[in-house]
Subunit: 478 residues, 2 copies
């Protein structure tokens, strides 16, 4: 039924491919010896504490590491030292410049009629309020769309409150919709002459720990201060509006420090290969300032470093170079990702594959590729090796991770070892992003999946691109 | 086997009594009509939103209500208004004086070798640090006992850190052991010339929301500042000590406001009875400043008010007066409890029974009495009525609640409707003690248990004391 086959989605093709590979094992994209090595990597990874030790060291000895800060510089020194200690080669720091923003103070309170404090965090990039804060009547909108649809008059001097609730999902798909308000609330508030914008945190927990994250003003607009209430505080403000006879007035006080130029950098180390082809893996080294960045993204740093180290220890020189890139300044707009793509433009055609681990420390449940069609049997073969870890095959629409975006855009194939993100947005960008939230066994399962995947990808004959599909799979999912 | 019976604990006696009552239903301590009324109260309570509405109103319209503060005064006004609106009689506020303490600033950070902030809350009653804080080397003790056992020399100028972990239990029994460090750490630190005392929060959660609570210095000692780290921050400090090559230095900055005299008060309202006998129930109105006091103890306020209201609505004038006391200044040392016992000393012999709901908003799972032996069949009979709510019979060693302590000491029988406290110390005395943590259905189950219990106790023939056991059951459990 070829006329039907044409409309079968990529995910189904993977299943077909798996079946095909299983029927013809002698045409598997790896040798029996390679398959055995991958299994040994998995065995070893499941008993290996290296990732935990790296994560503990980073989150304890460095702690929070805001992009462009002195702490992020300490993190780079830590990373270079750690890579050398783990016998990575060609360890170097590639610095770049970026504008700097940090919070210096933040508080909010209901002034009337029900005087009480509210837990609040300034959003990254927000302007300060005047010393002592701004005070205004609250205008609540159930969703960002309701604010967008609101008339241009009537909000002058008020504090806009966008109360939109985020959906909890396994795959993080609730984030895209919820995060729009982070910039959108201040933009729409500013256009209407409001005094400030408050949002319900982009997060799924119910603790009084607000979620920060980057926001950006529109070109040419008058910037208004923007902050996030914790979910319980957003509940409280909504209740106050419901129970009050008249208007509810809130005071918001935000202080920030900004500099036009600060230094960040990517830290790079390699397991050198036998050819000049490169596989890029890694996590981002910077974190938000509120927590110690254990799940965002210390876990990604630790898992990918530990996986590369394990391959180095167990397999000898790989065919392709495994390059671990610990990205700087991800949180403030993927600055390190762009800097890397620029600095390495001339060798991008030798980047055969790339992926970033940046979705917490939950177990991997799915392998997704973004390969050329001719390479799909390779994706199916990798997925088969990962089955024993509880990892199922996924579609061919992998996101690959935020920092490999410029590589993906340049045609580099990517993969995603999709993690269970059910509780990721309980912690994401909050003070609660700390080591105690990481399950050591889940971290080991991640290392096992990464080590097996990267090892096999490093040894497989031929690449993962093909000209038929290159650059055509638009709209990558995470 | 009477020689054996003498050694059987009170709990077993209750079971015997239950069996006895079940065998002789015509001698039950209530009439069939009363039993039916109790069942109707339960039916109604399970569909009644009154407790939720009260709790929502208190936590939203007043919010945090620290003892002696302007907010606690607003809470008293709220309570008196609410009682009148619910048709309580003899509504009045009985004020008393107390010393006042509040926090004005608090912060902590690891200074070296791993510079980073720590989440900290001053303990109630702590002295301030000098402006800018105190800095010192950390001396960690695994338990308070280890500190007590430490030599008197060697801690001068250091910051003592008592890292003792609290046990999670259903019945709150982990609290007694864990709370000793709240005063003990600063006392032992002060005796040894330390600069300050830090404790791991008295709490069972893993969020960066430290638990406050009252501490007291010993008579004549030099007071040192005392604060609690959140559990993840205590983990972090312990890890820093393990990973550092040398000493770990911390800076602690605490500001406080104190006044010798402030005003607090108990708010009282009644469902007047046909006799001059009184049953006292209630919860405490004050809360710590960090949260909105939903589980500690807005829930107790709401449940007991709603139960009394339901009895009033459904049964007509009770035999005994049901007096709801909303206690002031519980958190800072049971000041309202002592003030009540003093002001009502002359009528304490007419107090036939007392209980406070002050262990959160979890479901009731056990009925405990502290009755004279002759009244044990009444306890068994009440427990039997509560069975359909999932409430089992308990021992005869009820605590009764903190604010009825002086009544209990004066010989007033008490009961405890023991709540499931599995997650109570996740929230207790933290910013996270907010309305979203309360399960509406559990609140209704509480009201049902209280309404049935108090109604039956109000109508039963004869009291709950007897001379054989009065004042003899020392060491009440909670």
């Amino acid at each position: 039924m070829p006329f039907r086959l044409l409309s079968i989605p990529a995910a189904a093709l993977v299943f077909f491919a798996v079946a095909a590979v299983e029927a013809q094992t002698d045409s598997a994209p790896y040798t029996n010896a390679q398959r055995e090595t991958a299994d040994r990597l998995i065995d070893r990874a499941l008993e290996d504490d290296t990732a935990w030790d790296i994560l503990e060291s980073l989150t304890t000895e460095v702690g929070p590491r805001l992009a462009g800060s002195e702490a992020e510089a300490r993190a780079r020194d830590w990373a270079a030292r750690k890579m050398k200690a783990l016998d990575f080669k060609n360890v170097r720091i590639e610095t770049f410049e970026l504008p700097y923003w940090s919070r210096t103070r933040e508080s909010a309170e209901i002034v009337a009629p029900f005087a009480q404090p509210l837990a609040v965090a300034a959003l990254g990039g927000s302007v300060a309020t005047p010393e002592g804060g701004v005070e205004g009547e609250i205008a609540r909108f159930e969703t960002l769309q309701d604010l967008i649809d609101a008339p241009m008059e009537g909000l002058e001097g008020k504090i806009v409150f966008v109360d939109e609730i985020m959906t909890r999902t396994q795959d993080g798909s609730g984030y895209g919709a919820a995060v729009a308000k982070r910039s959108g609330a201040a933009r729409e508030a500013g256009r209407r002459g409001a005094a400030a914008a408050l949002i319900r945190s982009v997060g799924t927990d119910s603790h009084r720990l607000p979620h920060t994250g980057m926001m950006r003003y529109a070109e040419g607009m008058t910037p208004v201060p923007a902050a996030a209430l914790s979910n319980p505080d957003a509940d409280q403000l909504a209740r106050a509006l419901r129970l009050a006879d008249g208007p509810v007035r809130v005071r918001l006080d935000i202080g920030v420090e900004t500099r036009e130029r600060a230094i960040s950098g990517n830290v790079i180390g390699e397991i050198p290969g036998r050819t000049d082809e490169i596989i890029v893996i890694g996590g981002h080294l910077d974190s938000w300032d509120l927590g110690t960045g254990a799940v965002d993204d210390g876990a990604g740093v630790a898992v990918t470093m530990a996986a590369a180290k394990l391959i180095d220890d167990l397999t000898g020189k790989p065919k392709r170079t495994i390059r671990v890139v610990l990205w700087g300044a991800e949180e403030v707009g993927l600055v390190g990702a762009r800097a890397y793509a620029e600095a390495h433009e001339s060798e991008l055609d030798r980047h055969v594959l790339a992926s970033e681990s940046d979705f917490g420390a939950g177990r991997v449940w799915r392998f997704q590729s973004r390969f050329g069609e001719a390479a799909l049997p390779k994706a199916a073969a990798i997925a088969r090796v990962l089955r024993r870890l509880g990892v199922g095959p996924g579609d061919n629409n992998a996101f690959g991770g935020p920092d490999v975006g410029p590589l993906r855009a340049a045609g580099v194939p990517v993969f995603t070892l999709a993690q269970d993100g059910w509780d990721y947005f309980d912690l994401h960008h909050t003070a609660d992003d700390t080591l105690d939230k990481v399950e050591p066994e889940a971290l080991k399962q991640n290392v096992a999946a990464w080590a097996a995947t990267v090892y096999l990808a490093s040894e497989m004959e031929g690449g993962f691109r093909d000209h038929a599909t290159e650059g055509s799979a638009a709209g990558a999912s995470r």
